[in-house]
């Protein structure tokens, strides 16, 4: 299990590859990558603020819960903070399980909890102005599934 919170970009392909390598007991690997989306075509920069200390604690708790609940072989969370442009990868999670159902469910669980329970806040900067991204009701509602 690994949790990394960093400002620097990470190498998604490399991380996915090394996460998936050398496993003879886990048949299923799922990864999710979140990418800065330029919905309106005017995004200059996405800025992500976080709460150093609490962020790591919250992510480690979420990952440990997923590992236990689905008997995962491994779990990975990488999340960036700071400023990034459209198309850049914000974060990724990965899960390894014996069967695909567990790997998928655990990855969705990680994402649902990370979205609403890890202290990150997104601010979108355009040429004209800047605004904090509002939390979506369906993200909070997604937690009811678990």
């Amino acid at each position: 299990m690994r949790v990394t919170v960093q400002e620097a970009p990470f190498d998604y392909g490399q991380e996915a590859e090394s996460f998936a390598n050398g496993r003879h007991d886990m048949g299923a690997i799922v990864t999710f990558a979140g990418i800065v989306r330029d919905v309106a075509g005017g995004l200059d920069v996405m800025e992500i603020e976080h709460y150093p200390g609490m962020t790591e604690k919250a992510l480690e708790k979420i990952a440990a819960e997923a590992v236990e609940r689905w008997s995962l072989g491994d779990a990975l969370i990488i999340h960036r903070y700071g400023r990034m442009g459209a198309g850049e990868k914000i974060m990724m999670v990965a899960t390894a399980a014996r069967h695909r159902k567990d790997a998928f469910e655990a990855a969705e669980y990680l994402m649902d909890y990370l979205k609403s329970r890890a202290p990150f806040w997104k601010k979108e900067h355009t040429a004209q102005d800047a605004g904090w991204v509002a939390a979506r009701d369906e993200d909070e509602a997604a937690l009811d599934r678990w």
Partner: protein, 81 residues
């Protein structure tokens, strides 16, 4: 006690962190105290449904006790991922 602010709460109050001497026994009491201070605190804490609180880096409720707390943080609902 260290009080931390994040995202628009930080922007509205105008600082990321401050040390506060208080006798407040719950988060709600601390908020009442802060709101009484200045307009910018009143503005930040006007709508509690738009706020979240963490005590010593654990998400908590507004009626949680502050006894022994070193660090209280206020921020909007989180938007990571």
């Amino acid at each position: 006690m260290n009080v931390l602010y994040f995202a628009w709460v930080r922007e509205r109050i105008g600082l990321p962190k401050e040390k506060i001497e208080t006798n407040a026994t719950t988060v709600n009491e601390l908020i009442a105290e802060l709101r009484g201070r200045e307009e910018r605190y009143e503005a930040a804490f006007a709508d509690l449904s738009a706020l979240r609180v963490a005590i010593d880096q654990e998400l908590s409720d507004f009626d949680s006790p502050l006894e022994g707390a070193q660090e209280v943080a206020f921020f909007p609902p989180m938007t990571g991922g």
